[in-house]
């Protein structure tokens, strides 16, 4: 438009940023986590030949994807300065919904639609209570964590669903199947990483998510409909839990009402390890996915190295602390 008027001095300063691309890359948390994954992988490979087999690596990747999808949903919530600890229960409730629908003879698209609908609405209700009643997100989603799990028990009547009617084959193929040698859920994760990355960096919605996390009252003063954006973030988180539920149900081949219990911690851990700030304002789609992969690599590595699995939580917790410390050190250096 008016580029010809752009003063030379400033254009020069704009360019300066591109030159240090490599240095900027080295400063990103994603890069550090990726390095940690590689180092960990190499170390375990030296201990045991079982780690670096294509079968095991695919398995690790697939396991990481279920949490990774939820971590993508968690990312905008954390960036906006909130938190959603009800995602495990949303996964449970929407997974049970899928089981009931398919068990009752619904075709797969109807089942998927119903599942996504439950996740979206549950998440949206989280957001609505948080914004309209002005309650802390932690407390609200702690309550709905309990409510969601209880509803899963109520609607399933404590049954296990493993008969999916006419959709049995297709749901098992979707969740547990491979395309071109790669698990289907991996494609889903890649697609959603790209979608969320574009949403966060190229749209007004993404810009406003960051703005709200940076300074909510400034966002309000700028005329942004803060409540609507926040509600949409929680709705997106619920939706991603439902997406994860569909693949997880297909992979497991059965739905119990305990499905997804405790997943909220791994989800939040993945997102934080991937560089999202628990105080809001920072986070990336790629980071959430890589964080989820790191956690799964740690779990798998410990198993293969013959470490008592009871230690897993300690290691994951250690990495969360390390990630937060790393973020602190990087922000000091800035």
């Amino acid at each position: 438009m008016s580029q010809s008027n752009a003063p030379d001095m400033n254009v020069d300063l704009l360019k300066r940023h591109d030159r240090s691309l490599l240095r900027r890359l080295m400063l990103t948390q994603e890069m550090w986590i990726a390095i940690a994954i590689v180092v960990l992988g190499l170390a375990v490979s030296m201990i045991s030949g079982k780690f670096a087999t294509s079968g095991n690596l695919m398995n690790v990747l697939q396991n990481a994807c279920f949490i990774g999808l939820m971590a993508l949903g968690m990312t905008p919530v954390l960036i906006s300065g909130g938190i959603d600890i009800s995602v495990g229960s949303i996964l449970g409730l929407s997974g049970v919904t899928l089981g009931i629908l398919l068990n009752a003879g619904a075709p797969l698209p109807v089942g998927i639609f119903g599942t996504l609908f439950v996740g979206l609405v549950f998440g949206g209700l989280n957001g609505a209570v948080i914004t309209l009643a002005k309650l802390p997100p932690f407390i609200v989603t702690l309550a709905t964590l309990s409510i969601g799990r209880s509803l899963a028990l109520v609607v399933s009547d404590n049954q296990v669903f493993y008969e999916f009617g006419t959709a049995t084959e297709s749901i098992l193929a979707l969740g547990g199947g491979y395309t071109l040698g790669v698990p289907n859920v991996v494609y889903a994760l890649v697609v959603f990483v790209i979608v969320l990355h574009c949403l966060l960096t190229m749209t007004r919605w993404g810009r406003y998510i960051f703005a709200i996390g940076g300074n909510e009252s400034a966002a309000r003063l700028a005329g942004i409909s803060v409540d609507a954006i926040k509600i949409s973030a929680y709705a997106f988180s619920g939706l991603m839990a439902a997406v994860s539920a569909i693949f997880l149900v297909g992979w497991l081949g059965a739905v119990t009402n305990a499905i997804g219990t405790g997943y909220e911690l791994q989800t939040i851990a993945s997102t934080v390890i991937g560089g999202a700030s628990l105080t809001g304002g920072f986070g990336t789609a790629l980071g959430a996915a890589i964080g989820a992969i790191l956690i799964e690599v740690i779990r798998n590595a410990l198993l293969i190295a013959g470490v008592n699995p009871f230690w897993q939580g300690t290691f994951v917790g250690g990495f969360i602390l390390a990630a937060v410390l790393l973020e602190r050190i990087r922000s000091l250096r800035r």
């Binding site: 008016s2 003063p7 254009v11 190229m202 007004r204 810009r207 300074n215 400034a218 005329g223």
Partner: protein, 247 residues
């Protein structure tokens, strides 16, 4: 000097509390008006009334020869009234350009999608910073900026639209001496461009440096409204504390 806006006998009550008690002020085009008063004198209430945050209990608010009842800050902005808030209302985690355009981002079409036009935001912000003679860089995070640069970002926000009146709430309260000079220079530049500025400040030297006129408030009333060259810091101090009743 032609009149841009005027407040006539504005009363603002919050329950039993009368925060503004019949305040009348004229705001002229291209004038920097200093607004002074002790804490609780009604400065903030007055500014919020002008900015559309509050609707006065009674009185007339005339802007560009028309009586207005502003429904909120967005409505005020449509009239060309912009506020630079005391805490600057910036997002530290965003770039200068992102802050300048926050809430009114230009978009461009990429295939079926409308995406943020970051290049336009950067070049336009660079132009505005150039105009303001500020060394602020559009792609820098606000987090890393000095108080003066942050002030420039906040002021640049007002330069996007066709603003006519800029309200500045304590812009020099929390910054270093060198940066104060920078901010005062920014205010002069706005005045040169024909804008009216209302400067709310506790700092006597700043007001006497850049303002054309000073209004002093005490207990919800206007106790003085003088040209700056016909007043003195001593007189204004007396008016603020009540040692001088009115002037």
């Amino acid at each position: 000097m032609s009149k841009l806006a005027s407040l006539e006998k504005i009363v603002m009550e919050f329950g039993a509390i009368r925060a503004l008690d019949g305040v009348s002020i004229d705001i002229n085009r291209g004038e920097v008006l200093g607004l002074m008063g002790d804490n609780g004198a009604g400065k903030s209430t007055l500014v919020k009334t002008i900015a559309g945050n509050f609707q006065p209990t009674s009185g007339r608010y005339v802007f560009e020869d028309q009586e207005v009842r502003l429904s909120g800050p967005a409505d005020a902005r449509r009239h060309g009234i912009e506020v630079v808030y005391q805490d600057l209302a910036l997002c530290n985690n965003l770039t200068a350009a992102a802050n300048v355009f926050l809430g009114r981002e230009p978009m461009r079409q990429v295939g079926p999608f409308r995406v943020l036009d970051k290049k336009l935001m950067n070049t336009r912000s660079a132009e505005i910073f150039q105009e303001l003679k500020s060394e602020t860089r559009p792609a820098d995070l606000v987090d890393r900026m000095s108080g003066g640069q942050r002030q420039a970002v906040a002021i640049a926000r007002t330069r996007l639209s066709n603003s006519k009146l800029v309200l500045m709430d304590e812009p020099t309260a929390a910054i270093s001496v060198r940066q104060v000079a920078e901010v005062l220079a920014l205010i002069r530049r706005m005045k040169e461009q024909g804008l009216s500025v209302i400067l709310i400040s506790h700092r006597m030297p700043d007001v006497f440096d850049v303002c054309d006129r000073v209004v002093v408030m005490r207990r919800g009333r206007k106790v003085a409204d003088k040209r700056i060259d016909q007043s003195s810091p001593e007189e204004v101090t007396g008016l603020i504390t009540g040692a001088i009743q009115a002037a």
